[in-house]
């Protein structure tokens, strides 16, 4: 009789204790690195001086970089002329990206090969900086009047 009472009590206690339920919740924050620009710069017009040189600048646009990548090391931003080919002889297009989070490399001449513009960017970053273009002409009396259009692409890459 005692055994029966003991077993019954155990069973009732077990039922009364089953008042919890569990769930395993899995959450992810996706890795994203974004680089955007505010728009295209204004047209830059050069009037050649008597010495055959001239330059024009534009700093009306900005870039914004955001990243939450969990990669090791640092990031950098490179620039390249991605459409239109290299600049005509005796002309150059240079660009400088200002940075609060990384090291700006100053004004760098753009070609159809990538050039470092900012280095040492942290992998967790949210920053906005100005873009300054400089269009220069040398020996301008050897270059015919023309309009030049180029597409410039900025890219975030791992610095390692």
């Amino acid at each position: 009789m005692l055994r029966w009472f003991f077993l019954s009590t155990l069973a009732i206690c077990a039922l009364q204790g089953a008042t919890t339920a569990s769930q395993t919740v899995s959450m992810s924050i996706a890795s994203i690195s974004n680089l955007t620009t505010s728009g295209n710069p204004n047209a830059m017009s050069v009037s050649i001086g008597s010495d055959g040189t001239g330059s024009a600048t534009d700093n009306t646009t900005t870039y914004t970089i955001t990243s939450n990548t969990n990669a090791s090391g640092t990031l950098k931003i490179t620039g390249i002329i991605s459409s239109g080919g290299n600049m005509p002889t005796n002309t150059t297009l240079a660009v400088a990206l200002a940075s609060h989070s990384g090291s700006s490399q100053g004004s760098q001449t753009l070609t159809s090969s990538s050039t470092d513009l900012i280095t040492g960017l942290p992998t967790l970053v949210s920053d906005t900086g100005s873009i300054t273009y400089t269009f220069s002409v040398q020996n301008g009396w050897t270059v015919p009047t023309q309009t030049i259009s180029r597409t410039v692409t900025f890219t975030i890459t791992s610095a390692s």
């Binding site: 069973a11 009732i12 039922l15 009364q16 089953a18 008042t19 919890t20 339920a21 569990s22 769930q23 395993t24 919740v25 899995s26 959450m27 992810s28 924050i29 996706a30 890795s31 994203i32 974004n34 955007t36 914004t64 955001t66 990243s67 939450n68 990548t69 969990n70 992998t123 967790l124 970053v125 949210s126």
Partner: protein, 161 residues
Amino acid sequence: MSMRRWIFLLSCGTLPLQSAFMTQNAVIIYVSERSDLSVTSNPAAMVISLDSSGYGRVIDDSTYYSVYSNKKEDEVKITGSIKRGGSMPDHTTLSVQLGSSIGTSLGLQTLTTSNVDLVTDLPAQASDTGQITYLFQVTDGWTIPAQTITRTIVFTLMEKD
């Protein structure tokens, strides 16, 4: 006296004797107190893609809970807490809401390692099924690395305070 009459008289004489040996049993039927809380499954993985401001949110409402109780008295409530994995990382929150037809759902409540009320005023005798809604949110997401976070959530049915 015919045989039939003898049998009848003998039968009548034995009835009072037999009643003297009858006993009564007191039958006690005990309905044991029982409370059950169950969930249908785990929610689907929740993946956030941050927007430009570093904010992101995702909702899962694919699972349900069921509650059964036959307690004699006292209202009951359902609480929730993070049982395994520790508190959520900085700039992230996990909230949960339990829908209820017979109690009072307290809406979305942020989960921590301490119990938080999710449904109150459940009657002592309850039978109900409700939707579980999880909300995973990230703020200032550019200050935390991409990662996967796993937490075990425990729901508890307990007597009202």
